[in-house]
């Protein structure tokens, strides 16, 4: 069996298992979904309030609809990356704490692949709908999006997902040594706050850090700028930084995974 076909089979079985788990706890899934959608719309709602308030001028150089496109891109990027990659963090969190990670190491596959498949959250993709709806609404109010921006935007969205995947690798990797640290998600939430607003509100130094050091701007700002047809000069270094960030994340994961010694037998 070819390895691509075999991997496809693995993820299709994992997807089926994930759906079956959600179906087993329907109430939990529905309540969780409603709460998540409500929370995800808090930032766009705050943006609308800021722009409608006569006392505030909004974000410098950005119209309200453009900011909403940026925030919609953020929701879409999260909607793709969280169900695909962030289950990894909780699989590692629980299995390392309980000394069960060896069950993953006993599989004749990459431990990363097995942990990703175990953490796959198919119902989580429903959250994408909120981002897509916001994007369509904001783009509609702007009179549409240029067709030639769509392909570059999709490529940037791929890099955005890769950047979030890198964050998941750093978080999961740290849990091999920082056992049972549930605060890693709060750390990520704090960092991602910087991803939801236009770069113009930050100092130029911070903009450089967010583009080329920890490529947070690649999560939503740069894909949104490309979609809106107004990419800034930091996009190119941002692309390089996001690829380097991924390589570092993968290296960190492999290094930390090598430190796993299990819990007492």
């Amino acid at each position: 069996m070819g390895s691509a076909r075999s991997m496809l089979m693995l993820f299709s079985r994992a997807a089926r298992g994930s759906m079956a788990k959600a179906a087993a706890y329907r109430g939990d899934f529905i309540v969780g979904l409603v709460v998540a959608l409500l929370f995800e719309f808090l930032t766009p709602l705050a943006t609308i309030l800021i722009y409608r308030s006569s006392a505030m001028t909004g974000f410098p150089g950005w119209k309200m609809e453009e900011v909403l496109v940026l925030q919609a891109v953020f929701l879409i990027s999260r909607g793709i990356a969280f169900p695909l990659f962030f289950g990894l963090v909780w699989v590692v969190f629980e299995s390392v704490r309980e000394g069960r990670f060896e069950l993953i190491l006993l599989r004749p596959r990459s431990p990363l692949l097995v942990a990703l498949s175990q953490g796959l959250d198919m119902p989580g993709f429903v959250r994408l709908l909120g981002g897509l709806a916001l994007l369509l609404w904001s783009a509609g109010r702007m009179g549409g999006i240029q067709a030639r921006s769509i392909l570059p935007f999709l490529l940037m969205l791929g890099l955005s997902a890769l950047t979030l995947f890198s964050c998941a690798l750093f978080m999961a990797g740290s849990l091999f040594v920082w056992v049972g640290n549930s605060r890693v998600s709060e750390l990520l939430d704090s960092i991602l706050l910087f991803a939801q607003y236009p770069g113009s509100i930050f100092s130029s130094g911070l903009q450089l850090v967010l583009a080329a050091v920890v490529p947070v701007s690649m999560v939503a700002l740069f894909p949104a700028e490309v979609l809106l047809g107004r990419p800034d000069a930091l996009v190119l270094p941002g692309i390089g930084a996001s690829l380097a960030f991924f390589a570092l994340g993968l290296g960190f994961w492999n290094f930390m995974r090598g430190k796993y010694a299990g819990a007492g037998g």
Binding site: M1, G99, P108, Y260, G265
Partner: protein
């Protein structure tokens, strides 16, 4: 031919400890007192194809460390190990495709969905062809009697039913070596018997089993060879019968007589318990006094009403081995 070869395996790791006082807890947030643990001190052994080996030792003896090294999960500090011709920790992916494991206290089944879904997940992980998967699943589920159960959510199954499904998970990809860690823990007698029969059946088909357990009935009923480690060192490696006679060829005898039993005055005879003056249990070292002589002497001194002669329970021998730690000479 050896399937597993272990030579001078050493594992040392660093851990930390602290006291339970408030000050010590606060201090440990900033600075932890590290110390070295010598989990394995150079153990060596071979295991042949088709064996069923009991791998025993008290808690903290180094059993889990050895098994983790042999399953490719841990790297040893020094020493050499090969299994199926692979170095487990260097060629982990290719090696683990040929081994299975059942952990009595760590489930491989997905809790919320039926075992069948977990089996299908394993089919994908091990890339088992559809036809081979169906035929293997049919055969294993039939042997273990879980065909009707494997479509129910795992959480609704009893412990015994779940453990049978754990065995299916471990055997679907036809492993050549299976590591069993407390496979019958918490099971009732019927479930234990069924699991043990399954292990014996699979072993008869050529699968090598390495069994770690504290349930010595598992060892007596399954293992033909026993390896005992203590404090990271190998203290016994031989057949079950040799284990029984490790501290001498002894029998346990219960003597019930018509009148009070006088002192029998025999060498190597030790009274172990006394229900009454007429009902006494002994342990007899056959190397010093034969059974014939014991019976003759008992008949001389009193009138035997009933008598039972049993092997020394393996539990007693194991207990002594555990206590003796690494000071014992290694069995030839």
């Amino acid at each position: 031919m050896s399937l597993i070869e272990v030579e001078s395996l050493v594992k040392t790791y660093t851990t930390w400890q602290r006291g339970s006082g408030f000050g010590e807890i606060a201090k440990s947030v900033f600075k932890r007192e590290l110390h070295e643990v010598h989990a394995l001190n150079g153990i060596s052994f071979d295991i042949g194809e088709g064996s069923l080996v009991g791998f025993l030792g008290p808690n903290g003896a180094g059993k889990s460390t050895t098994l983790k090294i042999l399953t490719g999960v841990l790297h040893p500090t020094s020493g050499r190990a090969t299994a199926l011709g692979y170095c487990p920790w260097r060629e982990r992916k290719r090696y683990v495709a040929n081994i299975g494991a059942v952990f009595g206290q760590k489930s491989q089944l997905i809790w919320d969905i039926p075992p069948l879904d977990s089996f299908m997940m394993n089919q994908a992980i091990y890339a088992i062809e559809d036809g081979a998967f169906r035929s293997r699943l049919d055969s294993l589920s039939g042997m273990l009697g879980v065909r009707e159960l494997m479509r129910q959510p795992t959480r609704n199954l009893s412990l015994g039913e779940r453990m049978k499904c754990e065995f299916i998970m471990a055997m679907l990809h036809e492993p050549r070596i299976v590591f069993l860690d407390e496979p019958t823990i918490g099971l009732d007698l019927i479930a234990k018997e069924s699991i043990r029969d399954f292990i014996l059946e699979m072993n008869a088909q050529g699968v090598t089993f390495i069994l770690t357990t504290h349930d010595l009935a598992d060892v007596e009923l399954l293992a033909r060879r026993v390896i005992v480690i203590n404090s990271g060192e190998l203290v016994f490696d031989d057949g079950l019968e040799r284990l029984r006679s490790y501290f001498g060829n002894r029998k346990r005898i219960r003597l019930l007589c018509r009148a009070a039993i006088a002192d029998l005055g025999l060498e190597g005879l030790a009274e172990t318990s006394r229900a009454s003056d007429r009902d006494i249990s002994y342990e007899l070292d056959l190397g010093r006094t034969s059974l014939d002589r014991f019976i003759a002497r008992a008949n001389e001194r009193t009138l035997i009403q009933d008598m039972s002669i049993e092997e020394i329970p393996i539990e007693g021998v194991i207990k002594e081995l555990y206590r003796a730690a690494a000071t014992l000479p290694r069995s030839p």
